[in-house]
């Protein structure tokens, strides 16, 4: 046994040494190929081969059925919603009458500053009569989406009326105010597009921006220098301007601060950097401008320069639903690409006829806008020195916005303070005021505050009473 191994070993050694000592068989490029050269080359090849191999990983064993069963049994989900705390059990005030300038809340009459009834159309008889007529003819609901026999002639009439009022080529109606903007943005902006948006836009706009999957860059709230710097940065980075769609998204009157966007500046920047503009005029439609035609009329900008205008009709027009207006191409694009238009029932016909009635009222009575502006001026004067609160809204904005002079540190405690003020104002002085609400999904960084929605049908005594009660309560709370 041992001798055989010895023999095998000596044979192997003999072969190796003869390979090394083999005479030169060939000469390649002046280099004699000796036997040992062949062995060394083979060795190098083997080393290189090993280096290119991946390191050894033990194979992954899939989990067995029993192991999966165990994991499933062990897994404990979180509860669907977190624990309800005491403060979450608060119910909002319940109205027992129409939400006009004077409403009945929990049995007593209050002065109502919580409804965005800017033109005072709530309770208007002509509008109510046209709604009664529409209900008797068409019923209440429309029972179908626009594509499947849900298009009623009132809708088409309303769209034509809105286009005529604003002077735009075409319009499209949506069945709900906030779903307008969060459906329009994804219809036009897709992945790879660039959107420059104001950081103070409300939740519906933020949701639309998120759903569009485009690159979103925010600029400082209503700051044109910041907008210009952002546009400069964004255009510098992008290589091919004709292959990437670019949009600026802004609100005409910001719900979260009452500021008005300087449209002429924005249009100048948009033309310089070749962006399109999507403007949300929910709170300025029917309010700004000499005849209520919105921010474009107020700033003296021709409507053709604004690519897409959207508006919720639940404010000045005192109805429900939304609209979007622009060129024929823009509107036709939405009729097949906008989800909240295609996949949902259309606006109830009586609401569309209420919108037509509201527009007719506005065209026949432009003096209602002067009343509204006068009311805002009165409130501005009366609320110029409230302890602990500062006015931040624009002098022409019908959303009168007061923020805390000094924040308590967190949104939650700010909210408590503001709620205590509004509760006291309601209980002791019968004035209904709203605070800004912030959902946990809302990413707006602007401070919280109190909002008073001024209406053209508020009387001077209403405004003075509201201002006086707020001043009294604020003096007590902030002392």
């Amino acid at each position: 046994m041992a001798s055989e191994i010895m023999n095998a070993t000596s044979n192997a050694l003999f072969w190796i040494s003869s390979a090394f000592d083999a005479p030169t068989r060939a000469v390649v490029f002046g280099v004699p190929i000796d036997g040992h050269l062949v062995v060394e080359v083979l060795l190098v090849v083997v080393i290189l081969f090993q280096l290119t191999r991946k390191s050894y990983k033990p194979p992954k064993k899939p989990l067995t059925e029993k192991e999966i069963d165990e994991l499933c049994d062990d897994w404990v989900p979180e509860p669907l919603t977190p624990q309800i705390t005491e403060e979450m059990m608060v119910e909002p005030p319940t109205l027992e009458s129409a939400a006009g300038p004077h409403a009945i809340v929990d049995g007593k009459e209050v002065v109502n500053f919580a409804s965005a009834n800017y033109l005072g159309l709530i309770g208007n008889e002509k509008v109510t009569d046209s709604c009664v007529g529409a209900m008797e003819k068409y019923g209440v609901g429309s029972c179908g989406p626009r594509g499947f026999y849900g298009t009623i002639d009132v809708h088409l009439d309303c769209e034509a009326r809105v286009s005529k009022f604003l002077g735009t080529p075409d319009s499209i109606l949506y069945s709900y105010g906030i779903s307008t903007i969060f459906s329009v943005i994804p219809a036009f902006c897709k992945k790879g597009d660039i959107i420059v948006a104001d950081e103070g836009v409300h939740w519906a706009v933020q949701n639309g921006l998120y759903l569009s999957r485009s690159t979103v860059v925010y600029f400082k709230h209503n700051d044109m220098k910041s907008l210009e710097a952002t546009l400069e940065k964004v255009t510098g980075r992008s290589k091919n301007p004709e292959k990437v769609r670019r949009y600026i998204v802004a609100e005409a009157i910001y719900q979260n601060s009452g500021q008005i966007a300087p449209l002429d500046e924005i249009v100048r920047l948009k033309e310089k950097y070749r962006f399109r503009i999507i403007l949300d005029e929910s709170h300025s439609f029917g309010v700004l401008g000499n005849s209520g035609r919105g921010l474009a009329e107020y700033c003296g900008v021709p409507t053709e320069k604004i690519d897409i205008i959207t508006a919720g009709m639940g404010n000045a027009l005192a109805t429900d639903g939304g609209l979007c207006t622009g060129s024929v191409g823009v509107v036709n694009h939405q009729r097949l690409m906008s989800s909240a238009y295609l996949f949902t029932a259309s606006l109830p016909p009586y609401l569309a006829s209420a919108a037509i009635g509201a527009l007719e009222y506005l065209e026949a009575n432009p003096s209602v806008l002067t009343n509204l502006r006068a009311n805002i001026a009165i409130l501005l004067k009366e609320l110029s020195d409230v302890s602990g609160l500062a006015t931040v809204s624009h002098p022409l904005s019908p959303i009168f916005f007061l923020k805390l002079k000094k924040s308590t540190g967190s949104n939650k405690t700010d909210m408590h303070l503001l709620d205590s003020i509004t509760n006291q104002v309601l209980k002791e002085h019968s004035v209904l005021i709203a605070t800004t609400k912030r959902s946990s999904l809302d990413k707006c960084p602007l401070p919280l505050g109190l909002r008073l929605f001024v209406s053209a049908s508020h009387s001077e005594s209403d405004l003075i009473k509201a201002a006086a009660s707020l001043k009294k309560v604020a003096a007590v709370v902030f002392s």
Binding site: L95, S175, T344, S440
Partner: protein
């Protein structure tokens, strides 16, 4: 799921190929001859690049007159369809003053509340319109909650069989705004492959991971659940925070019920939460109209969240969520549609209250029970007759939605226009509502349809079906004359 016969699929694909070819040729000619018009964008990118709207421009425009047909009366069993004409090959359609009275098989009017109703519209809705005005112009939390809203929420909770409910002004916004409030990053949503666009949008907007299970397949759902719980989140393998399974009561493009008992059993076993969207089934199915849970014998306490809309069976607008008191209270604090959106219009709320009371029998009559029996009988009669004639009809027994398969794209306008010329208004569905190769015509039966209406509709559909060639299954011996004599 529908499986189309081979020959039909081949011919459908061939017809698409021909249409695409012509579309591309037209695009080419447009580029060559009209290039000046296309290039005057002055440095802006076009709103739609080349092929993004190819389907709209070249295919949809040809059959545009089959969609968005305006009507000039209430969407009742018979309504007036406005006539339209086009001078430029369907690119623009112009309204005329003329209308044609047609039988309505397209509107979601399951219990017949669409038109002015003696109990609902006059006087109750008009009275609430005069009392509360058209709109509150305010969000629910600010000053938009009226007594009517509170009453309707209590009534919905009682009707559906859950402790509490919350109301929204629009069904689409209900799904899009609620799902992000319930689940976020680190959670998992498992949704049926044929779920509605509002659910898809809500799921995308929430930021959670989305997985899809095969339509109505409880065993595939179990497989997906086991795999996801065992392996956890992708990349880091952390366990999921929570899992929500989203299904619908009736799938509106298929007309079939979901397999609720099996799916609930699977979800309970793996501790996943269930979200049931009853947009089409609430009020229309079940012995007393309480939806798919009643129809399939499932206890409502087993479903965590029940969503529904008031547009279809109640003749109003809006949506609701019904769940436990804690969930509803939490949603009232966080849901954006509750905090920011204008509250539902008070007359529409009153319409929903009145129609719900009629269905429950609380108006003092048995009209509700009669309507429910009527719609069930109508649906079953119509479906069985269509199947006997040889059409490929989808959907389950007792379901008021009946899709009839067309498949070929040219049959869509042919069927639609031919039916309209015979005064029958039918809805045909093409891309993007259904997959490209599975075009269909969809019929929604209403309790307002009488037996004569249905027989007339069957005659017209049979004639047009022969003309267009969609009787894919062999015809049984029973003819329509025998049906007429047997039902007299």
């Amino acid at each position: 799921m529908v499986r189309s016969p081979y020959f039909t699929t081949l011919t459908t694909l061939l017809s698409y190929r021909i249409l695409f070819l012509f579309g591309h040729l037209r695009d080419l000619f447009e580029k060559l001859l009209d290039w000046s018009k296309l290039n005057n964008l002055q440095g802006y990118a076009p709103i739609c690049f080349g092929y993004e709207d190819f389907y709209t421009r070249r295919l949809h425009l040809r059959i545009q007159d089959c969609f968005e047909r305006p009507i000039a009366s209430a969407p009742d069993a018979w309504f007036d369809v406005v006539e339209r004409y086009s001078n430029d090959n369907n690119k623009t359609l112009c309204r005329t003053e003329k209308t044609t009275k047609c039988l309505n098989l397209g509107s979601y009017n399951y219990l017949g509340f669409a038109a002015a109703d003696e109990y609902c519209s006059t006087p109750r809705v008009i009275r609430s319109l005069k009392q509360y005005s058209v709109s509150t112009c305010s969000a629910r939390v600010d000053g938009g909650t009226t007594k009517l809203h509170v009453e309707l929420e209590d009534l919905i909770a009682r009707f559906v069989g859950k402790p509490a409910a919350i109301l929204f002004g629009m069904g689409y916004a209900t799904n899009s705004a609620i799902i992000p409030a319930l689940i976020g990053k680190g959670g998992l949503i498992i949704s049926d492959s044929l779920n509605h666009n509002s659910i898809v949008n809500g799921a995308r907007g929430s930021g959670a991971t989305i997985r899809v299970f095969q339509h109505n397949n409880a065993s595939h759902l179990e497989e997906v659940l086991r795999e996801q719980i065992a392996y956890g989140q992708p990349h880091m393998y952390r366990p999921w925070n929570k899992i929500i399974v989203i299904i619908e009561g009736i799938y509106s493009m298929e007309g079939e019920f979901c397999k609720l008992p099996e799916i609930i059993a699977v979800c309970k076993k793996y501790k996943a939460y269930t979200y049931l969207d009853e947009a089409h089934s609430i009020g229309a199915v079940g012995r007393t109209g309480r939806g798919v849970c009643e129809q399939l014998g499932v206890d409502t306490a087993d479903v965590d969240i029940m969503m529904g809309t008031l547009t279809k069976s109640f003749g109003s607008c809006g949506g609701y969520i019904a769940a436990s008191k804690e969930i509803i209270q939490y949603l009232k604090q966080t849901c954006p549609a509750h905090l920011y959106a204008t509250s539902m219009s008070p007359p529409a709320v009153q319409q929903a209250i009145s129609s719900m009371k009629v269905i429950l029998g609380e108006d003092g009559t048995n009209r509700g029970a009669k309507k429910l029996t009527q719609i069930r009988e109508n649906s079953n009669f119509f479906r069985s007759e269509l199947q006997k004639m040889g059409f490929e009809v989808l959907g389950d027994k007792d379901s008021p939605i009946m899709p009839i398969m067309l498949y070929n794209i040219a049959k869509i306008p042919a069927f639609s226009r031919e039916c309209l010329s015979q005064n029958l208004a039918i809805v045909t569905i093409a891309f993007p509502y259904t997959p490209l190769l599975l075009a269909r015509a969809r019929i929604c039966i209403s309790a307002a349809h009488t037996r004569e209406d249905l027989i007339k509709a069957l005659e017209v559909i049979s004639k047009v079906g022969d003309l267009v060639g969609i009787k894919y299954f062999p015809v049984e011996h029973l003819t329509l004359d025998k049906v007429k004599t047997s039902t007299k």
